[in-house]
């Protein structure tokens, strides 16, 4: 197993919360042979006694050097997994990434074979969770044609997947202008002529959709209803594939939506019918 440096369990890194910041920590911890107790983006409310806190200033050069090392010395999927894990924004993600990389510098290209290792599995788990939501969201983003010819899609994903969704739609909708708005994080990806960037974003007024847009929403709803086979109705299965928290920003009216959250808010913990 790991043999941490003598004092490493008493050390916590503080960084600016950026990916480059975390990669700078990876650089520092590798150089000093430290496996930190924790990594946080904010000053601790109640600092621990006999515990060291190191504030690491983000250094783009060091960070890029770490990223290069990940891409060349670790397994081919390692960088993607590290990035996905970071985008999960889970409280444990930074620590998972540093543990994974520390082990990685020793195991190199065989790192991902250690699927049951405690420094590998949590990172794989978080990365898979983000990948699952990314895949799901590729299908569930719903664009609405807003006045001015811009396609607008509101989303509220669990993970920060906007940077992962954008390349897909930038290629697919290369001739259109679109905005995908992550309401919870108050950011949006905007794209025109195939080029996209992510900016802070807030809607100042609600959008009035034109008749054509409303007509297509009605057509889609009609299709959504008529394509279901009545004799095979299976709402439980539907909910399993399409969890309730994703319903809010869909265009289709799923029956039962109205009575469960009258204010139109997503409900995360609705008691389901007793399982059979």
């Amino acid at each position: 197993m790991m043999s941490p440096a003598p004092d490493s369990t008493r050390l916590t890194y503080i960084y600016d919360g950026t990916f480059h910041g975390l990669m700078t920590i990876a650089h520092d911890s590798a150089r000093r042979g430290i496996i930190p107790h924790d990594i946080t983006a904010s000053d601790p409310e109640r600092p621990l006694l006999f515990h060291d806190y190191i504030r690491v200033a983000t250094d783009v050069h060091k960070a890029e050097a770490v990223i290069r090392a990940i891409k060349t010395r670790l397994p081919s999927l390692a960088y993607r997994r590290v990035l996905f894990c970071f985008l999960s924004e889970a409280a444990t993600a930074p620590k998972c990434i540093i543990d994974y990389l520390s082990l990685g510098w020793r195991y190199g290209a065989m790192l991902d074979h250690h699927v049951t290792h405690e420094a590998v599995r949590p990172l794989h788990f978080l990365a898979e969770k983000v990948e699952r939501e990314r895949r799901r969201m590729l299908g569930l983003v719903r664009f609405r044609l807003a006045p001015g010819g811009i396609y607008y899609a509101p989303i509220e994903p669990d993970n920060n997947i906007l940077p992962l969704l954008s390349p897909h739609f930038a290629e697919r909708m290369a001739t259109e202008s679109w905005i995908i708005h992550d309401i919870g994080r108050k950011i949006a990806s905007r794209c025109s002529e195939g080029e996209w960037d992510i900016v802070d974003f807030k809607l100042t007024a609600s959008i009035e959709y034109g008749e054509e847009e409303l007509a297509y929403q009605k057509l889609w709803n009609g299709y959504f209803t008529s394509i279901a086979i009545g004799d095979r109705k299976n709402v439980k299965l539907q909910k399993q594939f399409l969890p309730r928290r994703y319903w809010k920003h869909l265009v289709e009216d799923i029956p039962g939506q109205a009575d469960t959250h009258p204010q139109g808010k997503p409900c995360r913990n609705i008691p389901t019918s007793p399982s059979t």
Partner: protein, 435 residues
């Protein structure tokens, strides 16, 4: 008739086609075009029957010249009829696509006037989408049995997948329930597609076409429960189709009574459990290296509705178990109940760097509830007795035996779905427990 009404009629008419895959091809957008194709496919929604919606599934028309007994669109059925124009379909597809409702189009049709005429409109529609609308999303089109092979070939260069549905799993049932369709015409269409695919692979392709010929392959559909074929004959047919016609997928559709009373057809609810077991077995054929003859036989022609096909197979082949997780080859690992493709891959990777314990095995995603009876880890067992097949069966199902037997006795033996004595009788065939 407005588009809304047409869409309602022609999408409800298309819903009995089970195929919804948008996978199998990867395509980049073209300059000035719209759309891409993603190799793994993308689901966009789920309707309240729990089935995924990936493609805009439409009939060109439900005005049908044929009168197949099982089909909702049969000529003698009294229902509203409609016909889309190619432009209407193309416009709907692109507008839905731009809003990210769908991954592409699945265009099917009733036989309108005659097969050639219908096929020609399908060809015109997909050509319009690709050429005028520069649509690069996924398209699945129906090959109409009986249509000229040149038309089918030309259509294939515009689309990602084509399918001709066999529907009834035997010639006898086809002749009885769909006399106008005929087995010959269906298999001719499938053969046309296969030979065109082979031609394309050999480089024998029209010079002006830069597109591939149905790169996502062809598929078909079998209706389950409308006719008396056993699971064994259905699965054997599927196996023959995968081998003989290189099909990518066979879909199974539990028969839903859709037409007015016809004494040639059953009047029960759709056999969903049976359909589910057939899909599981289909996966075993395509991805797990099983042959149909291993799973079922003339003597044991139907799946146990309570038990998944892999567990069913394992319980009849206890002499092959237990297998040692740390040394069994991949082909054997995937045959263990509770170990799927992903966990088998993880096991093979993980054991390259260290021997696995039962605890590690759990972390690979293997389901020990089922796997525990069939494996050892480092020579250790999880169960004392791995020879009591009846006990194992009960524990896999998760129900005590007495209730199971009473349930079975209560069920109507005439529905052809329950092999009442199957699971008990094979205890006799099992060799004495391994030392």
């Amino acid at each position: 008739m407005d588009v809304f009404k047409k869409l309602e009629i022609l999408s409800s008419a298309a819903k009995y086609d089970a195929s919804c895959a948008s996978s199998g091809t990867a395509r980049k957008n073209t300059p000035g075009g719209i759309g891409t194709a993603v190799r793994s496919g993308i689901c966009h929604s789920w309707s309240d029957d729990g089935r995924c919606i990936s493609l805009l599934k439409l009939l060109l028309t439900n005005k049908c010249a044929y009168n197949c007994a099982y089909c909702v669109n049969r000529a003698s059925n009294d229902l509203p009829r409609a016909l889309f124009t190619p432009d209407e379909i193309a416009e709907l597809t692109v507008q839905f696509y731009k809003r990210n409702y769908i991954e592409g189009l699945f265009l099917s049709s009733a036989v309108y006037r005659n097969p050639d005429y219908t096929m020609e409109i399908i060809l015109r529609t997909v050509a319009l989408l690709r050429e005028k609308y520069r649509f690069n999303g996924y398209i699945h089109a129906k090959a109409i049995p009986g249509a000229d092979s040149a038309l089918i070939r030309r259509t294939g260069f515009f689309v990602d997948r084509m399918s001709a549905n066999i529907e009834l799993p035997s010639e006898k049932s086809l002749n009885l329930l769909a006399p106008q369709k005929g087995k010959g015409a269906i298999f001719t269409a499938m053969r046309d597609m296969k030979s065109a695919m082979l031609d394309y692979r050999d480089g024998n392709r029209p010079s002006r076409s830069r597109r591939g010929f149905i790169l996502a392959g062809q598929s078909t559909q079998l209706i389950v429960g409308a006719s008396p074929e056993s699971d064994h004959s259905i699965l054997s047919l599927s196996e023959a189709l995968y081998r003989g016609f290189s099909l990518k997928r066979v879909y199974y559709s539990a028969y839903v009574p859709v037409t007015a009373l016809d004494n040639r057809l059953p009047l029960v609810g759709p056999p969903l459990r049976r359909e589910h077991r057939l899909y599981q077995a289909d996966w075993l054929l395509r991805l797990y290296g099983f042959r149909a003859g291993e799973l079922l036989s003339e003597k044991n022609p139907n799946f146990d509705p309570d038990l998944d096909p892999k567990s069913h197979w394992a319980l009849s082949n206890m002499h092959l178990f237990p297998v040692e997780i740390n040394s069994a080859d991949y082909e054997m690992l995937v045959r263990v109940p509770g170990i799927g493709l992903r966990s088998a891959q993880r096991i093979v990777r993980a054991r390259m760097v260290r021997a696995l314990s039962f605890d590690d095995l759990r972390k690979t995603g293997a389901v020990l509830k089922r796997a525990r009876f069939f494996i050892t880890c480092g020579g250790r067992h999880l169960e004392k007795d791995e020879s009591d097949v009846i006990m194992i069966r009960e524990r896999i199902i998760g129900r005590p035996a007495p209730r199971l037997l009473t349930d079975a006795r209560k069920r109507n033996p005439g529905d052809g779905q329950l092999d009442l004595f199957g699971p008990i009788s094979f205890t006799r065939r099992i060799p004495t427990p391994l030392p």
